[in-house]
């Protein structure tokens, strides 16, 4: 095959058996790879009602056909599994260099199943696959684990691993690769921990076969130039990274503040990308084959918060900043470092602390519950201390590390969990920006912005304009973003490549790489298929239309200040139109006609 390696590696941790299977070319064409292929494997092999942390769940590391090529930002892989945070079909996407290395070792996907009797790690060197004892690395942080495993295998090995949070199966645990990149959401790290799998280390000496090298080269060079020429991909993101969004979201009144009790944070500028560039930036950093380099290597010297690492991204700066009422960027960055070291999703971690702070504000928890930590809004030391306790699984921290829904529900107040389908929503207030609220409510993995980033049109005027305060047209806009993103995620390219790269150019790269005569219509149909595949699996897991909603706060409590003061989410005005435009019935179930159109089985 071209683009794909044509091989799937299967590792049964219960028996220690390692097998290889051929990738069906028709499956490859229809589901492309990464999120699409991984979802297809999970839907084919995992009972949707299985306990996500049981040996019956499976963990798929899947690359896309473009992964490992020099297509722009083509360094992505997905971790696909049943996510324990909220029981959805999880697909967590990460960059760095791990995905390309897996591809060079010869695999489109690695399926991990069962459970090891004791902690192990996988050592994959091309065709040689070993399940190794991980006793010496269990308990270590992500950087230490990475160093230890490289020392035991190969200095050039690319390592994806869990930290202590994943080991004790915190529901917001992630899988870190290349030390600083994260397959972050839905608790995929807890699944890895439940299987006693500490890490996957890989070295590959192969390459990616290209169907039409000359045409692929031309398509890639054109695509790279499109990003380079784009004001966002070529200038805005490289200059300040994603953190630059803090101020614009604040100015439109859409920066969730103090656990979404407001949409405006007066001190936001102290936590934005401009402040990071002035105070902490060491250098920019890009993932494999990326010309954008949105990553930030940072250093903090402030006493009590010292450290060096990567981040924060916008989402992290918001979750630990405005959402916790904290305006000390040094503390925010330190909390980010700790999340990376312990292996926790920064969005869910910061948001869950914000939830704990609201419980504290309302007297539902006191310092007697929090092991003495003062969770008053804006307490910069508290966000760092609580993050450490979460990573260690210590006392109240262990409760917070289960995510805000379980935390708030445990105290009888689930209404203070700012989640959609029990996953913490990201940094855009759905009362100020109507379309993103529809996306949160309908996202197949719960609260998430990268399933359908309508912010591009609603706030950033990138690629189009849509008034954030109106609901008209948002169903169609949301679906267009969701389908394109699903297809893009399946290729192995980064979402940020679309800040410049058109869908048509992406298809040109994919077609010349694989030799399949993909058209833009077929590509978008693949995205639609991937979306519906995830929807069908979630429905079978027990989700219904009642789960396509938002926290009551967003539907009933108007924003009290800022530029969107007085607004609420009008989600109910958008959902019926969304279902109809998706080809679903009034209960949000894909119709027979829709399934036939996409060649999907119910």
């Amino acid at each position: 095959m071209y683009g794909w390696t044509g091989t799937i590696l299967r590792i049964d941790l219960s028996s220690g058996k390692v097998t290889r299977e051929a990738l069906d070319p028709q499956v490859a064409r229809a589901y492309i790879g990464a999120r699409g292929l991984g979802g297809h494997i999970i839907r084919s092999e995992v009972d949707p009602k299985v306990d996500a942390l049981s040996p019956a769940n499976k963990l798929v590391f899947a690359t896309g056909p473009l992964t490992g090529t020099f297509a722009p930002s083509a360094g992505r892989y997905n971790v696909v599994t049943k996510g324990p945070l909220n029981d959805t079909l999880a697909a967590s996407n990460s960059g760095g260099a791990f995905g390309p290395e897996l591809k060079y070792a010869g695999y489109d996907a690695v399926i991990v199943e069962g459970k090891a009797a004791k902690p192990v790690y996988l050592w994959i060197k091309d065709d040689a696959v070993e399940i190794r004892d991980a006793a010496d690395v269990w308990g270590h942080t992500v950087p230490d684990t990475t160093d230890l495993i490289r020392a035991a295998t190969d200095d050039e090995a690319k390592v994806a691993c869990i930290g202590p949070a994943g080991e004790h199966q915190a529901m917001i645990a992630n899988i870190m690769n290349d030390m600083h990149r994260a397959a972050g959401r839905t608790g995929v790290g807890a699944v890895m921990g439940s299987k006693n799998l500490k890490a996957v280390a890989v070295v590959g000496s192969g390459s990616v076969n290209v169907a039409d090298p000359e045409a692929f080269l031309a398509a890639v060079l054109k695509g790279r130039q499109m990003i380079f020429d784009d004001p966002v991909g070529g200038t805005g993101l490289p200059a300040y990274g994603t953190e630059v969004l803090v101020n614009i979201l604040n100015q439109v009144g859409g920066l969730p503040t103090r656990n979404w009790q407001d949409g405006y944070f007066p001190n936001a500028d102290k936590t934005g990308g401009e402040a990071l560039a002035a105070k902490q930036l060491v250098r920019k950093k890009g993932c494999f084959s990326c010309i954008i380099s949105c990553g930030r290597v940072t250093k903090v010297d402030a006493p009590g918060f010292e450290g060096i690492g990567e981040g924060p991204e916008y989402e992290t700066a918001w979750a630990y900043g405005a959402d916790c009422g904290v305006d000390n960027l040094d503390a925010i960055t330190k909390a980010n470092y700790l999340c990376n070291e312990y292996g926790m999703d920064t969005i869910s971690a910061g948001s869950s602390i914000a939830c704990a702070m609201e419980l504290f504000q309302r007297g539902i928890v006191t310092t007697k519950d929090t092991d003495g930590v003062d969770l008053s809004w804006g307490n910069d030391k508290a966000i760092v201390e609580m993050t450490r306790k979460m990573g260690e699984g210590d006392g109240f921290g262990a409760k917070v590390a289960q995510g805000s829904y379980r935390l708030a529900d445990g105290y009888g107040h689930p209404e203070y969990s700012m989640t959609a389908k029990k996953q913490e929503m990201p940094a855009y207030d759905a009362r100020a920006i109507q379309g993103i609220g529809l996306n949160y409510a309908t996202s197949n993995r719960g609260g998430c912005h990268v399933r359908g980033y309508t912010i591009s049109h609603e706030v950033l005027q990138s690629g189009g304009f849509a008034d954030p305060h109106v609901t008209e047209g948002k169903a169609g806009l949301g679906i267009a973003f969701q389908n394109l993103t699903a297809a893009l995620d399946a290729t192995g390219c980064c979402l940020f490549a679309t800040f410049g790269l058109t869908g048509a150019q992406l298809v040109e790269m994919l077609a010349t790489l694989t030799g399949f005569d993909y058209t833009l219509d077929e590509f978008l149909e693949a995205g639609d298929r991937i979306w519906n595949q995830e929807r069908l699996w979630n429905l079978a897991a027990g989700f219904t239309k009642d789960n396509d909603t938002l926290p009551t706060r967003l539907l009933e409590e108007p924003l009290p200040s800022g530029a969107s003061k007085g607004h609420i989410s009008k989600l109910g005005d958008m959902v019926p139109e969304y279902y109809a435009a998706r080809g679903w019935d009034e209960n949000g179930v894909p119709t027979k006609a829709k399934l036939k159109e996409l060649s999907l089985k119910a």
Binding site: V244, I248, Q251, V252, G273, L460, A563
Partner: protein, 90 residues
């Protein structure tokens, strides 16, 4: 009124914000005034010929002027104007 500058626009203005004591009637007047103060790089960033540059984001009280009346957007004494380059993230 107050004008606030963000990201690379701050490199052009060398200040984060400015209080405007005069009464520019609309956005065109305001930007023309500001272009005189900050010079050609700022003018090139905000204007494209006689129109608003396609790669500038200007909010008046949090509303993108592309959803208002672009350069003809009327301004009042208490208005807050925010000027951003094209940015993104996630």
């Amino acid at each position: 009124m107050t004008v606030k500058y963000f990201a690379t626009i701050r490199d052009l203005t060398r200040e984060k914000e400015r209080r405007i004591d005069g009464r520019p009637g609309d956005l065109r007047e305001l930007l023309t005034q500001l272009a005189e103060r900050y010079g050609r790089p700022f003018r090139r960033a905000v204007f494209d010929g006689d129109g608003l540059h396609g790669e500038i984001i200007i909010l008046v009280n949090g509303r993108n002027v592309r959803h208002l009346r672009l350069l003809d957007t009327p301004l009042g004494e208490d208005d807050e104007i925010s000027v951003f380059p094209m940015i993104a993230g996630g």
